[in-house]
């Protein structure tokens, strides 16, 4: 027992010494550089050279495809699947190439992508309630993107007046399947606009 006490004593002593030492050490650190929020910027610039209208539309279609898969996972109340698909969507958003758009459109697309990536990232790591909150804004981002990029697909903008003061989303089907409520109120909503 005695030895145990002794080693505990030594431990405490060493800890105290160290605290004092590191106290002095801590003082001399300087300011950190402001964190960059634009980590995806490089990827976008890197792709610049292969700018072709076709490939861009393909990228927009890829984003839409991933968005619809995510929407279906939320319709199916599948939290784990939505997480995975949120992360897939992050990748397709990051690889979107906007280089051939006019400057005004480009900056709007950049804003849209920045925001959408953040929401998709959150969907990749949240519970289903939060996933749905982020999906609301993500839907707005994707809708605004389509307004600029256009799409080959026939889309339906649907609207549920009950969720969070009224909320829209996109679907490829006319039939309403609500991603914000899933099975608890699957049919809530109506088609408010057709695209194409």
């Amino acid at each position: 027992m005695k030895t145990v006490k002794r080693s505990l004593g030594a431990m405490a002593l060493a800890a105290i010494t160290l605290i004092t030492v590191s106290c002095n050490e801590g003082k001399k650190n300087e300011a950190t550089a402001p964190m960059s929020n634009e980590m995806h910027q490089d990827t976008m610039d890197a792709d610049k050279d292969m700018a072709m209208n076709d490939s861009q539309d393909a990228k927009a279609e890829a984003i839409l495809k991933d968005y619809f898969n995510l929407k279906d996972a939320l319709v199916g109340d599948d939290n784990a699947k939505a997480k995975g698909l949120g992360n897939t969507l992050v990748q397709s958003l990051k690889s979107f190439d906007m280089s051939s758009y006019a400057d005004g459109k480009k900056s709007e697309l950049k804003d849209i992508m920045e925001d959408a990536i953040e929401h998709a990232e959150h969907i990749g790591e949240s519970d289903i309630k939060h996933q749905r909150e982020h999906f609301k804004i993500l839907s707005k981002d994707v809708t605004d993107m389509v307004a600029i990029t256009g799409t080959q697909m026939k889309l339906y903008e649907q609207y549920c007046p009950m969720y969070d003061g009224g909320t829209a989303w996109l679907s490829t089907e006319k039939q309403v399947l609500n991603p914000y409520y899933g099975s608890s109120m699957l049919k809530c909503g109506k088609v408010q606009r057709e695209i194409n």
């Binding site: 590191s22 650190n29 402001p34 804003d111 953040e118």
Partner: protein
Amino acid sequence: MRVFKIIAWIALILFIIIQFFPTEKNESYTTPDNDFMVVNNVPSKIENQLKVSCYDCHSNSTSYPWYNKIQPAAWYLEDHVKEGKAELNFNEWSTYSDRRKDSKLRSIIKQIESGEMPMDSYTLIHRDAILSENIKNSVISYMRILKDSLK
């Protein structure tokens, strides 16, 4: 007893070793032109409370508690501050696009309303960061006004 002694010694040695890994501190001590308080006309009552309740993790200047001198506590804090700043950095407010401001304000309102922020693990020690019902309402209505002004 012998086993206990060995474990205690190993723990002690590890504890000592990790003290020599410094963390990068988040201390800029300047208010950049892009700061939320600079670009918005924030009532001083709200400004003071936000600085106390949010700025430790959501700006470039953290006022560190004493236990930041000890590892692994300092790592834990470094991680939190990093994550907090990636989500929202009040010091960089005016660099956000309107779209992102709108998203950020929505999250600010939601998380303050639900009590998610400031985090329990933070207010446990920083009792002055807790938002009273009264100030909570003022902050939320201020953020709502700001959000509406974006449209």
